[in-house]
């Protein structure tokens, strides 16, 4: 036994030693090419770069998916990429925050080298890295220099009102957090999703289903010309169950379950995952025969657990990050998407008994390891906890190194390419916290006051990542996507009659829920629910060249809204399958 430990220790030592050598080689290559580019890179007649940053990302991608007890796809691959940022001008005024239709939207029509998420050999050394960085920096500089000139030109004949700087000066730091990511037992997990997916064999009324698992460890290396450097290790693992079917009247219905964790060893046990799968299946089976809302509902709605978290993640939280208005050749352009709070600091956005903060340093809430936990942001800045809403009033926004008119410092929230939320924690004043039964009573009382026959509790809301990826595939594109803005798609909701009886309704949409709706939360629960999700990046990854989905967490109690609208989807449904499933065959 002792011997085993000894040899193990020895191995770990050797490994970390050689890893150090590798890390040094990587950083040295990045530093050397960065220095050379800062010193020598210049286009005749144009400005030199004043700032360059390099990021190298090494990712491992493990995934497996299964269907009715069989593996459909399983694999492992490595991905290596570099991203280069070059700024021309100075901190006050540079090539950024300018949208050039010609270049930014379609990219250059010339066959230039790519420099955002440029894929490089997975096997590389000092020379490989320098060569790749050389070509990427060259392309990035040429484009930045060109955009800078265009931006300058477009402002020549204009009186500029907004003189907010383009980039914030920060103090450089060096952080090296190299960590070997935990192992992933591909065989075990492939077997696990296979068994889980087999549950659906007993549910022939469910047309299509899928169970998948993925694990994504990532190490990034960063250097910039200000002297900032970091090595950062991050990983997370996720599992998803998706099921789709159609009711007899054709209404497409779905159910799902997701669970995320940081270390794959912390996934729920096989037993509880099997139970979760059965629940997804049996609830969907039940929904197929449930009634839908005969007429649109307008009244109080109680969001419980996952539904409350999704409502915050999809409707409220995306508005809490700074968004710089970009200049174009035609003038300043403010993006409308998720920008409700850009000039709202100081104003009330929630009831006075509620406060909300973003706490990236929180690793775990009760038994849940949080996906939004991180130490350093993309810029290498320490992630700060930020009080966003205090006693109902908006105090701050989550920011990166791009200042806006209202927020002129970075609080270390550049994630996946742009400012993004991480661990959103909602607090409710002690005296206003209500138990589950009290919340339900209050809901019923509100209904009585308004002479409504029933109120609505929403327990599960469709997750966007799952909807656009797996559910779309599983449903054979038969899933009906919500139309228009401010719509939350309901997966599981109940009518609560004034006598307290609950009745499952199938399908339905919450219409017109907006960030402003959160002002009208009238009650909140005692118990908080911690929910991990892959949240859609607020600033599109097409613009940032970063990630489309970013691991985040929402910790929230149940929320009771005074007045919302729920209705059945009003489009015509496709017909259900003409012949019955072969699973029904004896």
């Amino acid at each position: 036994m002792k011997k085993l430990i000894l040899s193990f220790l020895f191995f770990a030592f050797v490994f970390s030693f050689s890893q150090n050598a590798k890390d040094n080689e990587i950083l040295q290559a990045m530093r050397a090419e960065l220095k050379r580019s800062m010193d020598e890179l210049v286009l005749e007649g144009l400005k030199k770069p004043y700032y360059i940053e390099y990021k190298l990302r090494l990712r491992d991608v493990y995934n497996a998916s299964a269907n009715l007890g069989s593996v459909v796809d399983s694999g492992y691959r490595k991905v290596a990429s570099i991203s280069v940022g070059v700024r021309v001008g100075d901190y006050k005024f540079d090539n950024s925050n300018f949208f050039d239709i010609g270049l930014s939207f379609f990219g250059s029509s010339d066959d230039e080298e790519s420099y955002k998420s440029r894929s490089i050999p997975v096997e590389f050394d000092y020379s490989t890295l320098r060569r790749e960085l050389w070509l990427a920096t060259d392309a990035a500089y040429k484009q930045s220099a060109e955009i800078f000139s265009k931006k300058e030109a477009s402002l020549k004949n204009r009186m500029r009102k907004d003189t907010t700087h383009d980039f914030i000066v920060v103090k450089p730091t060096k952080n090296y957090n190299y960590e070997i990511a935990p192992n992933f037992d591909m065989k075990y997990f492939a077997e696990l999703v296979k068994s889980m997916s087999g549950v659906f064999l007993d549910y022939p009324e469910i047309s299509s289903s899928s169970v998948g698992v993925e694990y994504l460890p990532e190490i990034s290396y960063y250097v910039n010309s200000e002297g900032m450097e970091y090595i950062n290790s991050e990983y997370y693992a996720g599992m998803e169950i998706a099921a789709f079917s159609q009711a007899n009247d054709g209404m497409p219905l779905s159910n799902f379950f997701t669970t995320f964790t940081v270390n794959p060893k912390d996934f729920p046990s096989k037993d509880s995952l099997m139970i979760a799968t059965k629940e997804v299946a049996s609830k969907l089976k039940f929904m197929l025969n449930a009634k839908d809302l005969e007429e649109p509902y307008s009244g109080p709605v109680l969001f419980s657990s996952q539904a409350a978290a999704e409502a915050i993640a999809q409707v409220f939280a995306p508005n809490l990050v700074t968004q710089r208005a970009t200049l174009t050749e035609g003038g300043t352009q403010q993006n409308d998407r998720y920008s409700a709070f850009q000039s709202k600091i100081g104003g009330r956005v929630m009831p006075e008994f509620m406060s909300l903060k973003d706490v990236p340093d929180l690793k775990k809430y009760e038994n849940t390891f949080l996906l939004g936990n991180y130490e350093l942001d993309d810029d290498g800045l320490k992630a700060e906890n930020v009080n966003l809403v205090e006693d109902g009033y908006l105090k701050n926004l989550l920011s990166e190194r791009i200042p806006t008119r209202r927020v002129r410092n970075s609080n270390g929230h550049r994630r996946g390419g742009a400012a993004m939320f991480s661990n959103i924690l909602l607090d409710v004043k002690k005296e206003k916290q209500k138990s589950e039964s009290e919340l339900k009573e209050r809901l019923i009382k509100l209904c009585k006051d308004r002479e409504l026959p029933y109120g609505i509790i929403v327990k599960k809301v469709m997750n966007q990542n799952l909807m656009f990826t797996t559910m779309f595939r599983v449903s054979g594109s038969g899933f009906q996507m919500p139309r228009g803005n401010n719509v939350l798609l309901i997966t599981e909701a109940y009518k609560v009659y004034v006598d307290g009886k609950e009745e499952l309704i199938r399908g339905g949409e919450l219409k017109g829920i907006s960030p402003q709706s959160f002002k009208d939360v009238i009650e909140a629960g005692t118990k908080k629910y911690a929910y991990n999700l892959l949240a859609t990046s607020v600033i599109s990854s097409f613009i940032t060249g970063g990630d489309q989905y970013i691991g985040s967490s929402i910790i929230t109690p149940d929320l009771l809204f005074e007045d919302l609208e729920v209705k059945s989807p009003d489009e015509d449904f496709k017909k259900p399958p003409i012949i019955s499933s072969p699973l029904m065959q004896k």
Binding site: A32, E33, R36, S37, E40, L41, V42, L43, A66, N67, L68, G69, S70, V71, V72, D73, G75, R77, K78, S108, D110, D111, E112, E113, S119, I120, P121, V122, E123, F124, D125, S127, T128, R130, R131, W134, L135, D138, A139, Y141, K142, L201, S207, S208, G476, G478, K574, K575, P577, I578, I579, S581, P582, L583, Q585
Partner: protein, 561 residues
């Protein structure tokens, strides 16, 4: 009356199940679902008259390296399903062209992944779910077809939508080989490292790909085919830039049905050396100007030229589309090429002059046995490449209905072989070129050595031009000066006039193995031809990048300019 019809269907089913040749679990499972579906759906008002399932297992290996390092190395196993479901009858069905609709894409429905192991329930459930969608889409389209037919003028080509063919039961020989990934990774590292020394080579890639496909085809007509196809390729690409920003790529491809059939490392290394040498010359080469006059197209260049300007125009289904230019529709029995030229498409052969050719297959993607098709004999046009979509005068398929997994088959090319019955030596061909240039009062003629591929338009909405992208072009001077390498031109023209200008062929044979992309996806093809002399071709300036070459020298390479 109705009862009789049912009886018929049942009888047919029995007949079909008696024809099962060899046990294949997937085929047996799929067949159960196919039979059940056909029986159940024939109770519907609009019913399918034909359904086929193609289930393709693809085992693939892809390794790619650049500058001595592995870029990626992956292997993948997939099982994919394609469905052809037709309602109506073979004369008029849901696949019939809808006229006057510019956006009528034939959507294959995308790839459907099936479970990898022998799980009958899972496989049948996926088949059922996908078939239901296809059936509904078919009905919807069928209704549109009927309306369209009613509101538009009578069609020029009134042929049926689906040919009548005999069902086939066939089991091929299984193909098996293992790929020594480690060995190939090492070879690729070494080969790609050869580019490291040249700082003006901005990108270079050596990649190796193998795939073994198990193709299973079953149809309600009773066809049941299980066969194997394999494919191994090695690509070398490298690219430099001239000072004026023009990107100059070169390619080298090697093809074989088996990894052992690829050339050895030494041979490829030699080719890479030649490639580097040529790249260096290319980036310093002068720009060519627009030119019209005589030219020689090397064997592979002629092959690509024929593939583009001729091959795509004899793909039969295009003759039905009123939007298509239908270049050869009225040409049956007429002379379109000089009489010393034959053009053959032969998917039944695996090699030509000792070289493996990629357009070989036994059965096409509609379950029809591949056939040799002579499209031009002694300059006279006689035949089209046919899928099961008949055209006027051509009622049956000749085994050219092809598709990539995930797409619907249409008629596509296989091994295109240009034969010359009257040839001269390569040296003589060059002499004729010079003579011809003199006759036309030109300072020089052109020699197209390598081409990367090309494209062509066959629609009526756009002028019917073709464009072949040369990589290596020489000026052959009439006054005896040495040949001069030039860059920056594309070979352009219109098909019919260019054909009549072919005046001589050499006694060589060039082979171009490639993947041809069109509406039914990418399919492996070859284009083989002797060198040809064309009395009048036209070149135009190539579109060129405006980006300068990198400002700084490479941080690592030893050999500077």
């Amino acid at each position: 009356m109705f009862k009789n019809k049912y009886l018929m269907a049942f009888l047919m089913l029995i007949l079909i199940s008696n024809m099962v040749a060899k046990d294949d679990f997937i085929v047996t499972s799929a067949k159960k679902e196919l039979d059940r579906t056909m029986m159940e759906l024939s109770k519907e008002k609009i019913k399918p008259y034909f359904i086929s399932y193609t289930i393709t297992d693809v085992e693939s290996n892809t390794i790619s390296a650049s500058f001595g390092k592995i870029r990626s190395s992956n292997n993948d196993t997939k099982r994919m399903l394609d469905i052809d479901l037709r309602v109506g009858d073979n004369k008029l069905d849901n696949t019939h062209i809808i006229r006057g609709n510019p956006f009528s894409f034939t959507f294959g429905g995308g790839t459907i992944s099936l479970p990898l192991d022998n799980n009958e329930k899972a496989i049948r459930n996926s088949l059922w779910f996908a078939t239901d969608r296809r059936f509904k889409a078919a009905i919807e389209r069928y209704e549109k077809v009927i309306t369209n037919k009613a509101v538009k003028v009578a069609e020029e080509d009134s042929s049926a939508d689906f040919s009548i063919e005999k069902p086939v039961v066939f089991t091929g020989n299984e193909i098996k080989f293992t790929v020594d990934t480690k060995k190939w990774e090492e070879i690729l590292r070494k080969l790609s490292a050869k580019f490291l020394d040249y700082q003006w080579i901005y990108s270079a890639n050596v990649s190796f790909m193998t795939s073994i496909q198990t193709k299973r085809f079953i149809s309600t007509e009773g066809s049941q085919i299980v066969e194997w196809e394999s494919n191994c390729r090695l690509y070398v690409t490298a690219q430099t830039k001239s000072d004026d920003g023009m990107s100059l790529p070169l390619y080298e491809t090697y093809f074989s049905f088996n990894p052992d059939g690829l050339p050895n490392e030494q041979k490829i290394a030699q080719d890479i050396d030649k490639m580097i040498d040529l790249l260096d010359k290319l980036r310093k080469a002068p720009l060519a100007t627009t030119f019209s006059g005589p030219a020689i197209l090397s064997g592979p260049a002629s092959g690509v030229f024929f593939h583009e300007i001729f091959g795509h125009r004899v793909e039969g289904h295009r003759e039905k589309d009123p939007n298509s230019s239908q270049t050869f529709k009225q040409s049956i029995g007429k002379k379109i090429l000089p009489e010393f030229i034959n053009v053959i498409f032969d998917p039944t052969i695996k090699t030509l002059k000792g070289q493996e050719i990629a357009g070989y297959y036994v059965y096409d993607n509609e379950g029809i046995k591949s056939q040799k098709v002579e499209t031009v004999k002694n300059g006279i046009f006689s035949n089209f490449l046919m899928s099961r979509s008949p055209i006027e005068g051509f009622n049956t398929s000749n085994g050219h209905g092809r598709a990539q997994a995930g797409y619907s088959p249409v008629s596509r090319q296989s091994n295109l072989i240009v034969e010359a019955t009257q040839t001269v030596s390569e040296k003589k061909l060059r002499e004729i070129l010079i003579e011809e240039a003199k006759k036309q009062n030109k300072e020089y003629g052109l020699y197209f050595d390598q081409v990367s591929g090309g494209f062509t338009f066959t629609d009526r909405t756009i002028p019917n031009a073709f464009n072949v992208t040369p990589l290596v072009v020489y000026k052959v001077y009439v006054d005896g000066r040495p040949d001069e390498l030039v860059r920056g031109v594309d070979l352009i023209g219109t098909p019919l006039t260019t054909f009549t200008n072919i005046i001589a062929a050499a006694d060589d044979m060039g082979i171009f193995n490639g993947i041809c992309g069109a509406e039914s996806g990418g399919v492996p093809v070859s284009a083989c031809s002797p060198s040809l002399l064309v009395s009048l071709i036209e070149v135009q300036k190539k579109q060129k990048s405006q980006a300068k070459p990198p400002l700084l020298p490479s941080p690592i390479s030893k050999k500077a300019n």
